[in-house]
Each structure stands twice: as C-alpha cells, then as structure tokens.
C-alpha cells in the first residue's frame, strides 16, 4: 500500500514535470562549422512540411548543408533556449511569434542581425520588420503574417459581419467561439477590443472597457477553443458559427470544403506575425544568416505564402489571382493593423486571464 502510494505520488510529480518540460541538455545543436549542419525550428504540421519544401530543400541543394529540422512550437523552443542561457544553443535559426521573441530578446537569447549581410533586406516589409526590432536593433526577419479577423459559417450567417463589434450581435448568441487570452487569437481579439476607441493596452481604463464589452458575450459562447484543432472542430461541427481567427486558416478551411467565410474588420485586423531569428551564441551564425537569405527570397516565399494563405514578409512578390483576391497585404495594410503590445501584455496575461475566467469560467 505504501509502495502504491509512493508510485502514485511519483506519477503526479512526473506529470507535473512533464508539464514544465525542464530540459537541461542541448539537443540537436551542432557546433562544428565544417560539418556544415544547421539546426532550424519549424511549427509542426502541414506548415512545417511546406516550410521544408519551400526553403530547406533549396538551401540544402544549393549549399550542400544538412539542415536538422526541429518541429514544435514557441514554448518548447523558448524553454530549451532559456535552459542553454545563450551558450551553445540547441538551435541556430528559430521561429518565434512576437509573444515569445520579446522575452527571448530580453533574456539575450537572440542575436541582432547585420542587415547589410542580408541580400533581400530592402524588399522586406518595413512594418513587419519593425515588429521584430527591439531597442533600435533588428533581431528577426518576417516570414509571413496572418491577420486576425472574423471567421464565420456562410451557411448559418447570411449577412456577413463587417467589424469586430458584430460578434456581439444577438443573432449569434449561443454560437460564438471565443479563444481564451492564453491562446494567441484570444489575446489578439482582446487587443482589437482595447483598440476599438483608440485605447491602448497600457491604459487600465481601456482594458477595463474591453472587459466590459467582453461581458456582453457571457452566456453566448458555445466553445472556448484553445488550439487550431479545437477551432476547426468547433466550426466544422457547427458548434460555433463565428470566431475571431486568422485569414490563412479560414481560407484553407474554405478550400477544404467547409462553408467558411472571412472578413477583415473595418476598424483593422490584428497582425499575427511569424519571424525568424538567429540565436545568440550560435556556432553557425554565418550559415544561419545565409539561410535567412533563402527564407526571405521572393521566389521561395511565394509558394509558401500561397500554400499557407498568409501574406509574406517580402513585398516584391506578385501573387496569383486567387491569393490576391482574398488576402490583404502590403505596408499600407499592415500599417493599419492592430498589433498586440506584448511588452505590456505578457506580464499582465495571468491577471487578465483571471478576469476573463470570472466572466466565462
């Protein structure tokens, strides 16, 4: 009995450990430069597969370098990077969304870029570039950006919504899906609510107003999806008719046959950017910089952008008509975007999620 209890306690601790994912050893990082190996991260799933085809394969073909692709997501890469403490990092090139790149830069885990060394730097979108620039230094190059707007079921909602506030419409009550603040679209939507009347996240009064607005959804939400899979399930099953979500995912869903539509809200969609960074202390920084050239080249970004339905970071691309018809892009568009201020949001996230839970929990 005692043994069983110990074992049980051990299992609990192990689960807690698994949740925290402590990892002290660097994996995959290759230090030897003449081995010509490069470790690059990519988001798991079809995104990662297309990434491999669009960028990794041409790079390997041309340079003879072997690229070790590490599939996963922000959190685990940041964990490993933090564990390495900026010395002999487990990755050379890393993908981050701004919520993860901000703390990583703050901890000195990412290396500033020398823009002179980047062949396509001039073609990159200045607005998107600015989103991976901190304290006057450029750290990342933009790969693609999604736009958060309203995804809705075209068969259930006849009159397309036009702006964020339409989600509060009584007609949709009981059929709204709302991602929590701890899932990116949730925070992005919240940011849009804060920005509605020109508010800023750093202004507590504006945040209070946004929460007040959120309260209108109380009792109307049918699902709280916390990952892309949950969102697809909720929309495809008809559990939800409308949800703040990204354009790329919406159009991909439409292509797959779901009666899904997407609108860019009049008051401005919210940007969801993916940038690539070189890690501090990488032994292959030169090779890594060269990889960023492949990553930002128009001919490589075009198929990737069209495949994911996300606008690319290189502004010089001429897209196919189907893409051009649906996706809004370019510096003027991105300029109007609402961008989440992670410098404010990240430290406040727990507190806000608690308030959010008091409304919906």
């Amino acid at each position: 009995m005692k043994g069983i209890r110990l074992a049980a306690a051990g299992t609990v601790a192990a689960l807690a450990l698994a949740a925290c994912g402590v990892d002290t050893g660097g994996t995959g990082g290759q230090s030897s430069s003449d081995a010509r190996e490069l470790t690059v991260t990519a988001f798991a799933g079809p995104w990662g597969e297309l990434f491999k085809k669009s960028f990794v394969e041409p790079f390997e073909r041309d340079t003879g370098t072997k690229v070790n692709l590490v599939y996963g997501a922000n959190a685990e890469w940041l964990t490993k990077l933090r564990a390495s403490g900026g010395k002999n990092p487990p990755f050379d090139v890393i993908a981050f969304t701004p919520d993860a790149s901000r703390p990583a830069v703050a901890a000195g885990l990412l290396a500033p870029l020398d823009s002179a060394k980047l062949t396509h730097y001039k073609q990159l979108d200045p607005v998107l570039l600015s989103k991976s620039s901190y304290e006057g230094k450029q750290y990342g190059v933009p790969l693609t950006t999604g736009s958060l707007g309203l995804l809705y079921r075209t068969d259930k909602i006849k009159k397309a919504p036009s702006d964020w506030r339409d989600i509060f419409s009584k007609e949709y009550c009981g059929h709204v899906a709302l991602p929590p603040l701890t899932y990116n679209p949730g925070l992005e939507f919240f940011s849009a609510l804060v920005a509605q009347d020109g508010g800023k996240m750093s202004d507590p009064a504006a945040v209070d107003r946004a929460f007040k607005e959120l309260e209108k959804l109380k009792g109307c939400v049918s699902s709280f999806p916390a990952n892309a899979g949950n969102v697809s399930t909720a929309i495809e099953n008809g559990d939800a008719w409308i949800i703040p979500f990204w354009d790329g995912r919406a159009f991909a869903m439409e292509q797959a046959g779901t009666p899904a539509g997407f609108v860019y809200p009049k008051s401005g969609p919210v940007g969801a950017l993916t940038s690539y960074f070189v890690t501090s202390g990488s032994q292959n920084s030169e090779l890594a910089t060269k990889f960023l050239d492949y990553l930002t080249a128009a001919q490589n970004q075009k198929p990737f952008a069209q495949g994911t339905w996300y606008a690319a970071g290189n502004d010089s691309i001429s897209y196919d008509k189907a893409f051009e018809d649906r996706i809004e892009h370019g510096p003027q568009v991105f300029e109007k975007f609402n961008w989440v201020d992670y410098t404010v949001a990240t430290p406040k996230l727990n507190e806000w999620q608690q308030r959010w839970n008091q409304i919906f929990g």
């Binding site: 009995m1 005692k2 069983i4 209890r5 049980a8 306690a9 051990g10 299992t11 609990v12 601790a13 192990a14 689960l15 807690a16 450990l17 949740a19 925290c20 994912g21 402590v22 002290t24 997501a73 922000n74 959190a75 940041l78 964990t79 933090r82 919520d99 993860a100 901000r102 703390p103 703050a106 901890a107 929590p180 701890t182 899932y183 049918s222 699902s223 709280f224 999806p225 916390a226 949950n230 399930t233 909720a234 099953n237 008809g238 559990d239 990240t346 430290p347 996230l349 727990n350 999620q353 608690q354 839970n357 919906f360 929990g361």
Partner: protein, 288 residues
C-alpha cells in the same frame, strides 16, 4: 557485521532502480524546486536569487488557488466515481476462473491504458461534439431540440478522466476481491445470510483495503492529470495541471509553473498520506 553486510547486499538489488529514479526523477524534481524559488524578469524569465513570491501568488491569486481547490474536488469526485464503477467490474473479474473470458474481460478493462491519449480523447470529441453521436441521438430522439454543449463542459472532463483512470481502481479492487477467502461467503450463507447481506456485511468491509488503494491511486493521478481534460475540456478548465501547462506554454513563467506544481504535489502527498494513514489506523483497530 554479517547482518549489516547482508542487508546491504539486499540493497544492491534495488540499486539500478535507485540510480534510475535519482537521475531521472529526483534530480529534475530538485531542479524544479529550485526553479520555483527563482525570481523572474519582466518577461518571466528566471533569474538567480531566492524569492517566495511565486508561492505567494499561488496561494493568494484565485486563478491559482481556485484551480488547486477545483482540482482537489474534481479528484475526489473522480476517485469516488471510479470506485463505484470499478466495484461491479472487479467483482465480476474476481469471481471468474482464469480463462479466455477472464482475459478478454481484463483486456477490455485496461483498454483505456492501452490506447494513446490522443486517440482516446478524440474518441470522446467524436462522441460529444455538436453533431457527435450523443447529440445526434439526443436530438434525433426528440429529447432536446438543439445540440447540447457537451464538449468543453465540466461533466465531459469528469467523464473522460474517470474513463482513463478507471483501470487504476479496477486492478487493486480485483486483487482485493480475488484475495477474499471464499469460505467467508459460505460461512455467512450457512449462518443464514442471503447474498445481499453477505455482500454488505462480509464482502464490502473486507474489500475496503482495495477500495482505499484504488481510490488513492485514482485520486493522486487525477490531481496531476492535464492532457485529457485539456483536450476534452479545453484550456479554460480550471484544473491545476492545465494552469501549469498554461504558465509554461503561453505565459512562459516557469517559476510560477514550478511553484504551482509543487503546491499540487504537496496537497496530493498530504491528502493521500492522511487518508492512507487514517485507513491504516482504522484497519488496525478493526483487525486487532
């Protein structure tokens, strides 16, 4: 001297296990404990130093202590449900002679453990979603006119967690019931007690050790479970395990995650020890 030597030779047999547990369990656990005392910078990265502030937050912010409380209640509920559901199954299993049928029944019983968590959980998603099997039956039969919100609901979390933890209650219960002296039932019957009375007066009290063991295991596992409730109930489900997951994956605040994990661990250890200890005292008094 020789006695001591012999004792240490015995210890040699468990040395591999001790090394294994120390390296892969104890050391990370200590590191995690240390992490829970580290202060953080503005972006929640751990800094060297010592602070109790994370434990302070865990114990004062309803987001965290509410989750611990909710987890505790859920674990108790799941443990009770598991024991109630496991008892008849274990009774059936224990009463069968070893053979093909018993083996088949046993495999069915432990099948939740043989299925990957993803497959098992998506099974529940298929069953419980808006146009899932359950809703289609309910709407089709006219019991309700709108599909009910089954997924991402608390009952769905309780049901799915009970499902996966059920084997941990069935196995010790089967052992306890199988170990009962059959002659005790016969003795009870010859003394005039019918099956129901025999069950209540003899079987149930004597199977209590199995009940307690099963309940404790299920309770301890339910305290730490997070993948199944996360996939079925969603990240808004206020369970401590999900809160830990949240802190790590979206807030990137490992020290708070570690502090919450340890708070959870301490609560689990305390409650299982208290419960187990109380039962042992009671047992000693009962059997003399």
């Amino acid at each position: 001297m020789t006695r001591a030597t012999r004792r240490w030779r015995g210890a040699g047999y468990v040395l591999p296990l001790v090394v294994f547990l120390t390296a892969l369990f104890l050391v990370p656990l200590v590191q995690l404990l240390r992490l829970s005392f580290n202060p953080v910078d503005a972006y929640n990265a751990a800094l060297p130093g010592f602070t109790l502030s994370h434990y302070g937050r865990v114990l004062t912010e309803p987001y965290f202590y509410g989750a611990l409380l909710h987890t505790l209640l859920t674990a108790v509920l799941v443990a009770v449900l598991c024991v109630l559901l496991a008892y008849p199954a274990a009774y059936l299993l224990a009463g069968r002679r070893p053979g093909t049928l018993r083996t088949v029944l046993f495999v069915i019983v432990i099948s939740p453990l043989l299925t990957s968590v993803v497959v098992r959980t998506y099974g529940w998603v298929v069953l419980l979603s808006g146009n899932g099997v359950v809703n289609r039956v309910l709407v089709g039969s006219g019991l309700i006119d709108q599909p009910a919100q089954l997924l991402t609901s608390y009952p769905a979390v309780v049901v799915s967690v009970t499902h996966v933890l059920l084997p941990f209650a069935i196995i010790p219960l089967t052992t306890a019931l199988g170990g009962l002296d059959h002659n005790l039932h016969r003795a009870s019957q010859t003394l005039g007690a019918g099956p129901v009375r025999t069950f209540l007066r003899v079987t149930v009290p004597l199977s209590l050790p199995g009940v307690v063991t099963g309940a404790l295991i299920v309770f301890a596992l339910a305290m730490g479970i997070y993948i199944t409730p996360l996939l079925v109930g969603g990240v808004t489900e206020p369970l401590a395990g999900i809160r830990v997951y949240d802190q790590v994956t979206t807030v990137f605040d490992y020290p708070v995650a570690a502090a919450l994990s340890f708070a959870l661990l301490v609560i689990t250890l305390l409650s299982t020890t208290l419960l187990g200890g109380a039962f042992r005292i009671w047992e000693r008094r009962l059997y003399g």
